[in-house]
Each structure stands twice: as C-alpha cells, then as structure tokens.
C-alpha cells in the first residue's frame, strides 16, 4: 500500500518538477525563473523525502534539510540581485 502510494506520489512530484522547469525555461520575467527555481528546490525536497521513505533510510534527511536551506538562500540572493545589483549593501 505504502509503495503504491509512493509510486503515485513520486510520479506527481516529478510532474510538478517538470512543470516548474517548464516555467523556469519559459520565463518570461526573471522573477518567474527565480520563483520556478525556488519551487524546483521545494519539489526536490519532497522527492528526496519520498525516496528516503522508499529506501527506509534516514541518511538522506540532512540532504533534504540542506536543500531547504540552500533553496531559500539562493532565492534571496537572486531576488536581491533583481532588486538592486548589489547583494551585500
């Protein structure tokens, strides 16, 4: 039962990732691309969590955690770049 659910869920998440990527490639505004990248990151977290459930292993959890962190920071950086070129003033 769990495996069946996992299969469906993973399929859904992959679909979501593809959609995000599509938006990322399509644009049009750079904000769109950044938002899409952010979403892609979050989707990836979901994917990783599901994988680690399927693998019945907790070794990949930190990876998910880090994706969350880095996704956030990356988004902030890109957004600040869009706001004003300078990230650090």
């Amino acid at each position: 039962m769990l495996t069946a659910a996992l299969n469906i869920a993973i399929a859904a998440v992959l679909l979501a990732m593809l959609l995000s990527l599509w938006r990322l490639l399509r644009g049009p505004a750079p904000e769109d691309r950044v938002l899409a990248l952010d979403t892609l990151y979050i989707n990836t977290i979901a994917l990783v969590l599901m994988l680690s459930i399927r693998f019945d292993s907790r070794l990949y959890f930190e990876a998910a955690l880090l994706i969350a962190m880095t996704g956030f920071v990356g988004t902030i950086a890109l957004a600040k770049y869009l706001l004003r070129g300078n990230l650090m003033d």
């Binding site: 039962m1 769990l2 679909l15 990732m17 599509w22 505004a29 979403t39 977290i45 956030f72």
Partner: protein, 113 residues
C-alpha cells in the same frame, strides 16, 4: 496503522505539490503565479514531512523531532522569499493583469533601526 497514515499523507502532500507547480506553470502573470508555490507547495511539503515523521515512527525509530526542522524552516522561509520576490517584481515593474496598488508598500519596512 501508521503506514496507512503515512500513505495518505504522502498522497495528500504530493497532490498539493503538484497543484502548486501547476499554478506556477499555468497562471497568467507573475503575481498570480507567486501564490501557487508559496501556499500550495508549502502545504504539500508539510504533509510529506508529516508522512516522513509518521513513517519514521512506524519503522521503529521512535518519534524524532529532527524531521520537524524542515517544516519550521519552510514556514519561515516560504513567506520571506515570496515577499522579496514580489517586491522585486513590483520594483522592476513586471507586467501584471491588475495595475499594482499605489507605491505605499514601502511603509512596512521604513522604520527599523
């Protein structure tokens, strides 16, 4: 029992994650697209995390709080990044269906330190 719960949560989460990206892909302009990921996807991920916790508890590792960390992270970061992005879009005059409100949106952060 826990496994059943996990399965349900997973499906639930996956659904909302998908919805979020769907919104991102389909909605007409940036400001509307902003909603999909920030709300739906976050919710979906929350469900997935819950599923993970449930599953972990089920697979005999006992209930552990670490998994909540991601959730906390997300609940803090999602709005922030959404806000910053929206602000950037406003500043750069990204086209929007409805004309943007009068620029009073600086009021919120003009007074710190």
């Amino acid at each position: 029992m826990l496994e059943a719960l996990a399965s349900v949560l997973i499906l639930f989460g996956a659904f909302f994650v998908l919805v979020g990206s769907l919104g991102l892909a389909r909605l007409p302009d940036f400001f509307t697209r902003l909603h999909g990921p920030t709300k739906a996807t976050t919710l979906g991920l929350a469900a997935v995390c819950a599923a993970f916790i449930a599953f972990a508890a089920g697979s005999g590792n006992g209930l552990s709080v670490r998994e909540l960390l991601i959730l906390v992270f997300l609940f803090i970061t999602a709005p922030v990044s959404a806000f910053v992005l929206g602000r950037a879009a406003l500043r750069r005059g990204t086209p929007s269906m409805t004309p943007p409100p009068a620029p009073l949106e600086d009021a919120d952060d003009d007074r710190h330190r």
